[in-house]
Symmetry: C2
Subunit: 461 residues, 2 copies
């Protein structure tokens, strides 16, 4: 009689955080036969950030996690964010001179510095809350628990379940805990200790002012072509990004502005910004940019951008705990790919848990060691790339906001940045997830064959 003929206890995983990565991972783990509970601290699904976009590559990863995920994305009204035009179905990113005017006779002239082809439906954007709602519909009732704010996770020894306690005094058990609880992750604090410098994100000294502008007003400032297509206006100490949303009824405009000061309050990363602040940042820029800024509202949200660049997480796992998405590698938004990186994490973890489930069906005793090996493999496969993104996003912000854009004598130099920006973008968009999955399976097998998932020390002499 085979061991697999016995019905074995399922693997139980607690996912902390019911954001996009937490719910997408939930769908994946349920598909491979894991018993999942999601603990979300909010009363409903988080609506931070009006919109979010995914690369075509991330959507292919979603499809491998579970075909229901891209179906949910598209049912929530996702649209390609920036079409090439009627003759060309591809999406493009465009970088455009926001500052310099070479020609006094034509002050509305702007030079296109660089254009990068993201391919057919290269980005698909959606409203964040609508995608979450669509994902919840895929998940059986009872899996997600709201108003559960994690307090502690206690490891009571091998072959015992982890104990989770919540601020409301309740508790729960799980074989493993995955922290998908975002930039201010509690699981990260528990994994590293509260005194670790990576336990809290740091201010990037860049703020984002966001607003929606009706399309007719955007066209007044930018002209039809620029208003109807994604453009990133670069200049000294700031850049202005916009793209059409809501079936071209509006544009979403985001002004990124360097801030030499400290952020006043770590616990509140959104403040009120004024039109005066934004105007000051774009003083001296070219007329179309200033005309667009004139159409911003008198007050708007000002987001302090925080990330884990300065103090990256040394390891994404510890025993049967691990971190995914922003909890592991919170990034600034300059590549527009933070969530895509979390989707890649979710694909890696889903693949690993499928192996763990299969192994435990054969040998239920191996559960604890298999979970540790899986998380250790996940760390080895995912940490380098996802921390690269955090660095790269900072770097492209520096390049977008080079002081040289403001100096005509340095304009040739400033423009040499685009080869690098292109390379960095393609590294994100053309991720070879097939190779990642091979490495994931090989790494897991090696760890299980050798020393129960123990890490080898780095080479020393």
């Amino acid at each position: 009689m085979e061991a697999s003929d016995h019905p074995t206890e399922p693997i139980e995983i607690a996912i902390v955080g019911g954001g996009i990565i937490g719910l997408v991972l939930t769908v994946g783990l349920l598909r491979v036969g894991v018993k999942v509970k999601v603990y979300e601290q909010a009363k409903g699904f988080r609506e931070i950030g009006a919109g979010i976009a995914f690369t075509a590559n991330a959507i292919r990863c979603m499809n491998l996690i579970d075909p229901a995920v891209p179906v949910a994305l598209r049912s929530s009204g996702s649209v390609a964010t920036s079409n090439g035009g009627e003759q060309d179905p591809n999406d493009y990113l465009r970088w455009i001179d926001g500052y310099d005017r070479h020609r006094e006779d034509d002050p509305y002239r702007q030079q296109l510095f660089f254009k990068l082809d993201a391919g057919y439906r290269g980005f698909e954007g959606c409203r964040r809350d609508q995608f979450l709602e669509a994902l919840v519909k895929v998940i059986p009732p009872g899996v997600v628990e709201l108003k559960k704010r994690l307090a502690t996770v206690e490891d009571r020894g091998n072959d015992k379940k982890l104990l989770l306690t919540f601020r409301d005094g309740t508790a729960a058990e799980a074989d493993a805990v995955i922290g998908c609880d975002g930039v201010k992750s509690r699981v990260r604090q528990i994994l590293l200790g509260e005194d670790d410098p990576a336990s809290r994100p740091r201010y990037t000294h860049c703020v984002a002012y966001r607003t929606l502008i009706p399309m007719d007003k955007a066209i007044e400032a930018l002209g039809t072509y620029k208003a109807m297509n994604q453009h990133n206006h670069v200049g000294p100490n700031a850049n202005l990004l916009h793209y059409p949303v809501a079936n071209n009824a509006m544009i979403n405009a985001v002004a990124f502005v360097r801030d030499p000061n400290d952020w006043p309050d770590d616990t509140q990363t959104v403040a009120q910004g004024t039109l005066g602040d934004v105007k000051a940042a774009f003083e001296g820029w070219c007329p179309p940019v200033r005309d667009l800024v004139d159409r911003f509202p008198e007050t708007m949200s000002k987001w302090g951008i925080f990330d884990l660049w300065e103090y990256p997480v040394p390891r994404y796992n510890s025993g049967r705990l691990c971190l995914a998405g922003d909890a592991a590698h919170a990034t600034s938004p300059h590549h527009g790919a933070g969530a895509c990186m979390g989707i890649e994490d979710a694909l890696c973890l889903t693949t690993l848990m499928q192996e763990v489930v299969a192994e435990c069906r054969e040998d239920p005793e191996s559960k604890d060691r298999a979970l540790r090996a899986a998380f250790s493999t996940y760390d080895a496969v995912r940490r380098t790339r996802s921390q690269w993104l955090v660095n790269s996003s900072r770097r492209v912000c520096d390049l977008h906001q080079q002081l040289e854009w403001g100096d005509a004598a340095k304009l040739v130099k400033a423009q040499t940045c685009f080869e690098e920006i292109g390379d960095r973008s393609l590294k994100i968009w053309r991720f070879d997830y097939e190779t990642m999955l091979k490495e994931t399976l090989q790494g897991y097998k090696q760890k299980r064959a050798s020393s129960n998932g123990a890490m080898k020390d780095m080479t020393v002499y």
Copy 2:
């Protein structure tokens, strides 16, 4: 009767500068039927820089220029610079902790941060003067003229040859001039005008102290493995690179040190450095590094590193003039790939001149327009990549010399740089020259088919 039955006048090209790129290009142009003259200002072949290394990729490019070029390289005693060991024939680059000591009980311990596989014979190093001598043997007598320092190039109108004048009062004619005259290129000054900021290179605020150390002394300091293999010790404000040369009889050691000051004299980029200077730069570093520095001589060469990063050349061509190698894109040496980039230039130009020669055989009247189109194509194909290298070399110097290497709390952050360093290295080592050659031929055909090589303006709105 076909036009090609007439013996037509050959294309005559003047190459200014008899360094490695100038001579390699000469071999290529001679092969495709161009009449070449090389004008070199020195009395003999320049010996600046004791050694030079080429990537396997650059050697494949040499082979496409003319199989005689890699034969010359190997006849000059080139050797793989850093073998993996007896069990592994591949070359590796290794980045190693030069500063931090985590373990007081073992102060000679150094952590290997990153190792990058350059493949079989990934780098081949040679003595620069020996490679030049071997190249000269491939070139027929009378092609190279020494002691010819270029003064001016005059364009006397279409269908007339360019007039070159030299400081010694002599003159020469050519259909086109290619400046391979290095970092202080005179052709660049003529092409851009002497007042253009790109007409002279700028100080990178990094100096290099170079010396050779006998292998037994190197082993005393580093141990056998490190002494016998390439290692790059990274730390705050400096890095120390060494690799074996002369059949493992010595190591070549290069200490790169950040210099906040200005360089005293632009015309002299080599000064005398003292052991005291080098010791001061590596004070507080780990014992093996300090032990090696103790074995540096009392005085040695100190090279001020200059490049074209701050003011890149806006265009590599103007009419029938163009720039190649360091004249076009002088770079700091931190990728060890400056000459490789010039070899790629030489392959692109050889391919273009083969087209020009074929076209002029059919229609001798087209010579002038064909040459302009060829140089314009060359600029379009080569400028972005080669200026990227200049930027990238500065960037990796910054990463090698991060202040964070000196701060234990920032060591995790500092180490996240290696994904980027790896990507940048692979972009150099795995250059797709087949695609470059396709783009070169397509670009040239398009220019010849359209408007005689005129450039299109960049998109403006």
